[in-house]
């Protein structure tokens, strides 16, 4: 088993300590940081993501794996910045204004990060203006919005209008999701994608950004 396979394996098991130790070991063997990230950490999370899609692992296990990956990424981050390694895309993500439920958004965020995207997580109950401002300031490639209530999902339309008014609608893709959200609603407000579940969200993000 190569050291990358070992890292991927420990990410799947959610063993943060081993991931940290193996990433440090790989660096001491002068392995490139981007290869450690892609073949080890992202490789491991891709397997977790695939298992999750196929009903082979539970939601909390995905998040335990995500923690392990985050430990490894934390070690690599300064080196990746030095080498100017680009993520697959920059994603501004949050739960829509008025909605305090954030689990769905968190899982999508973790899976996207695991797939190699950079996540700017705005949290829950995010003001519509904050989505627009962050998308603009962070040069986001994609905005992801989640809602769990019928009363709050209407705010997604306001964000869509805000992105247009700010003149960035053409440069940023939008994916929406959450219990009351449907493909029909996504079409109605002009979103580029609707994610019925977290794993689908990652597939759609990759497709929309041609990754």
């Amino acid at each position: 088993m190569t050291i990358f396979e070992k890292i991927a394996d420990e990410v799947q098991k959610g063993n943060s300590e081993s991931v940290g130790a193996l990433v440090t070991e790989a660096l001491s063997q002068e392995m490139p940081a981007d290869t450690i990230m892609n073949d080890g950490l992202v490789g491991g999370m891709n397997i977790v993501s695939e298992k999750f899609k196929n009903n082979e692992c539970f939601i909390p296990e995905v998040l335990v794996s995500a923690k392990a990956m985050t430990v490894g990424l934390g070690i690599l981050k300064p080196l990746l910045a030095e080498k100017n390694v680009k993520p697959l895309g920059r994603v501004v993500i949050g739960t829509i204004q008025g909605d305090l439920h954030d689990i769905g958004k968190n899982i999508v965020g973790m899976l996207l990060q695991g797939a190699g995207f950079e996540i700017i997580d705005l949290g829950a109950d995010v003001h519509v203006g904050q989505f627009v401002e962050s998308a603009k300031n962070e040069n986001a490639d994609l905005v992801g919005m989640s809602a769990l209530l019928t009363t709050t999902m209407v705010n997604m339309k306001t964000v869509m209008d805000g992105l247009k008014e700010a003149g960035i609608r053409e440069s940023v893709k939008v994916i929406i999701g959450g219990a009351p959200v449907t493909q029909a609603y996504a079409d109605q407000i002009g979103a580029d994608g609707y994610a019925a579940d977290a794993a689908t969200g990652v597939d759609i993000a990759k497709k929309l950004l041609d990754k």
Partner: protein, 319 residues
């Protein structure tokens, strides 16, 4: 049972994960197909039954199933919401609750902690958990130690009224000079597949808090006993069927195949494994993160959670 009658199921198991798995199997196999307010037109009718679940050892290990709709840090925060009122400040004012669906205020209409610890009636606040502790400290055999959540004025017009209705408890002698705290909870309606497990982790933590309160107040040795959980409607929503049945054509296995493909140890976690994630799950949740993130939390609640955090960091405390 005759068609049109809701099945009545009884489950008795040693631990929470064992009871949880058994309940999912039983409701899936024996539940009646019936629509709920939350089903979408394209969803099949939900599976539903009236169910009583008894857990002999609520803190027996392994205590945590791996199948629930959140992370471990999120679960830790939910426990604080129920037991210490971490999110009581997310509840909207009564005048907005009365407006029901007309209200534009999207804050919550209740929390379990709010209703149990600060029930509003005739302009006064009643701490019903203190009442249970006081009553059982004075006379452990009483059958009157209970707390309710339902507010007949506020709840009927709201979109999501409380599921938990009542908490009832009684003390029995353990035969060794100490006492056992028995607790029952009664639920109007319950999402078995995505809410039951987290509810039970939180409510049994409250059970322990009540037992500790009685012990402190009465000077008696009080241990947590069996926990009984009664749901009028324990259901698996139609929208979850895809997840439960899988899709063999797409290589997606069913929920039951997933359970069968792993040993029980591989489907559960012990309290020891879970503890560090309850403190900080490394991805933004857990008690430390909650305290950092929620700046508007009232000081007294923050203090409770800080105390809880200290206890969890102490090796003797079982989460």
């Amino acid at each position: 049972m005759e068609s049109g009658n809701i099945p009545v199921l009884t489950i008795v198991e040693d631990t929470i994960p064992l009871a949880y798995e058994k309940a999912i199997r039983e409701v899936w196999e024996k539940g009646i197909g019936i629509r709920t307010e939350y089903d979408r037109p394209e969803d099949p009718p939900s599976k539903d039954a009236t169910v009583m679940i008894a857990v002999r050892k609520p803190f027996g290990q392994p205590r945590f199933h791996r199948s629930f709709a959140d992370g471990l840090g999120g679960l830790a925060e939910y426990v604080q919401e129920v037991v210490h009122g971490a999110h009581d400040y997310w509840v909207k004012p009564v005048e907005e609750i009365i407006k029901a669906v007309e209200s534009q205020d999207t804050r919550w209409t209740y929390t379990y902690h709010g209703r149990l610890f600060e029930y509003m009636i005739e302009g006064e606040i009643v701490n019903q958990i203190d009442y249970i502790i006081d009553k059982l400290s004075q006379s452990g055999h009483t059958r009157r130690a209970q707390a309710i959540t339902w507010n007949p004025k506020l709840d009927p017009p709201t979109e999501d009224p409380p599921c938990l209705q009542r908490v009832w408890g009684r003390l029995c002698e353990d035969g060794h000079g100490g006492f056992i705290f028995n607790m029952n909870t009664h639920w109007r309606s319950r999402d078995l597949f995505k809410a039951w497990f987290e509810n039970v982790i939180a409510i049994t933590t409250l059970m322990r808090k009540i037992a500790e309160g009685i012990a402190e107040k009465s000077g008696k040795k009080v241990r947590v006993g069996r926990y009984v959980d009664i749901s009028d409607s324990l259901h698996i929503y139609g929208s979850y069927f895809r997840e439960i049945e899988g899709d063999p054509e797409k290589g997606i296995q069913s929920f039951f195949e997933m359970l069968e493909s792993r040993s029980f140890e591989e489907r559960t976690w012990s309290s020891d494994f879970v503890k560090p994630y309850f403190i900080d799950d490394g991805i933004g949740k857990g008690l430390k993160k909650m305290l950092e993130r929620e700046n508007n939390m009232p000081e007294d609640v923050r203090k409770y959670i800080e105390d809880e955090l200290r206890k969890i960091e102490d090796d003797d405390y079982v989460v």
